[in-house]
Symmetry: C2
Subunit: 271 residues, 2 copies
């Protein structure tokens, strides 16, 4: 099901600035038994990201109506919400009278990942592409995602579930579609995303879960050597949940109890 | 008029990867008396940019059919050609069986700029935003243009016709919608675009025009001080042609004969 400004349709105005310039943001979330997981955090991120790009914020009621409409169709699915600056005339400048953004809500089936990803962890690789450092866009889940597309095109091997991205300064940022955490002793560490990367809702939830589990949390700058020396490395997003890395280059890890605990907490709809 | 894969329609599949990720490229060109200006160079850039992103290249005949269709409607207009990786399922990975891209051709009226822009030059400003350095995307006219959108939002003063963009290393790159040239003695200088910026067709044409006019041409790294000390600074793209900068901060320039000569050559359809 696809809703554009609340109306069911598969089509979008070809002059939408989301297409022209990637002028918009998006979120991906789960509907579980008709309820949007971590919805308060998801909406807060929509508000924050719209604020960063000076996009009119879609009304909570309008988005909740979209979710209800989708839930009436399918109780369990993935929902992607896109917010764009609507249609525009040619040129980067925005009409001064723009007061509403456009929302596109798209449901798709719950993906089926191998059980093994959760039970034993995944095989990951380090991508060649280096993310550009752009503080003006860092953290935002905006529609300019060519770096992710190019990074994802670096491998075809279906045994490799995710690629790790470093930035131009060789700092670890995350996966092509996920945020990254390391476990070191009783500390959860995750990269600082003030120069690039996306601040995901599951990353926020894991930071909160860490406190709940009496783990220390640390946001900082990390390099590949920190990854290799960690007790565990996990990748997360709203759809996959948490996957621990089993193999990265020549390094192998066993399932770690903290990863299991965090996963359990997230699945219990801890928010 | 809007043509999607050659069919007149204003609507686009909401699952297009151009919207989802900015996964595509575009060109903007003039139709003058029904003929696409510098079309051979424009198509060559489409081929080159598609190659950089590993996008299937649209057939020359298909794009020329679009141009003919638009020309039958309006002899003089601006045409924007967008090429996207078509529709996709959720996720950055591209279906292995993708063999065709999607093309969107959009005509819009010829914009009317003040005569003054050509006769006496424009007022420009230096943008605060710094372009991120990303060699993997540099030069390509791709659909990830949030930096340009944000830079263009820095000013509302209608007296200011364009903003100058520097990169994270404070090198001059160009305008928000234009390439930049300096005149120093009998040399035309333009920024190297291997780390960021867009290599426009008019930039190529001016480099060719420079040789024709027995001017030396130099592609290099320049800072703001080089701009201020230049004999003339001009901005160019396929729609505006060539605008000399009259005022930038406290620096003022008189119209320069080389700028006039280059403009004349471009208007004579020199290619």
């Amino acid at each position: 099901m696809i809703l554009v400004n609340g109306v069911e349709t598969g089509m979008l105005d070809a002059l939408d600035r989301g297409l022209a310039y990637g002028d918009g943001i998006f979120r991906t979330l789960l509907l579980r038994d008709g309820r949007a997981v971590a919805w308060a955090r998801q909406y807060a991120k929509i508000v924050a990201d719209c604020g960063r790009l000076d996009l009119p914020v879609p009304a909570l009621a309008a988005l909740e109506a979209d979710l209800a409409c989708i839930a009436a169709d399918t109780r369990d699915c993935v929902v992607k919400i896109i917010v764009t600056r609507g249609s525009g005339v040619r040129g980067y400048a925005v009409a001064a009278d723009l007061i509403e953004s456009r929302t596109i809500a798209i449901s798709s089936p719950m993906p089926i990942y191998p059980r093994d990803h959760v039970e034993h962890g995944i095989v990951a690789r380090v991508c060649d592409l280096r993310l550009a450092r752009q503080p003006a866009l860092a953290g935002i889940k905006h529609l300019n995602r060519l770096e992710n597309v190019l990074a994802r095109r670096e491998w075809n091997d279906t045994q490799i579930a995710e690629g790790i991205l470093l930035d131009a300064a060789n700092k670890v940022i995350g996966g092509t579609m996920s945020n990254l955490f390391m476990v070191r002793g009783n500390t959860l560490l995750t990269p600082d995303l003030s120069a690039c990367g996306i601040c995901g809702v599951t990353r926020e939830r894991i930071l909160a879960a860490g406190s709940r589990l009496d783990l220390k949390t640390e946001i900082g700058e990390f390099e590949l050597k920190d990854l290799y020396s960690a007790d565990a490395v996990m990748l997360c997003n709203s759809v996959i949940g948490v996957w621990q890395i089993r193999t990265l280059a020549n390094r192998h890890w066993q399932p770690h109890s903290y990863v299991r605990m965090i996963r359990t907490l997230l699945e219990q709809d801890f928010d």
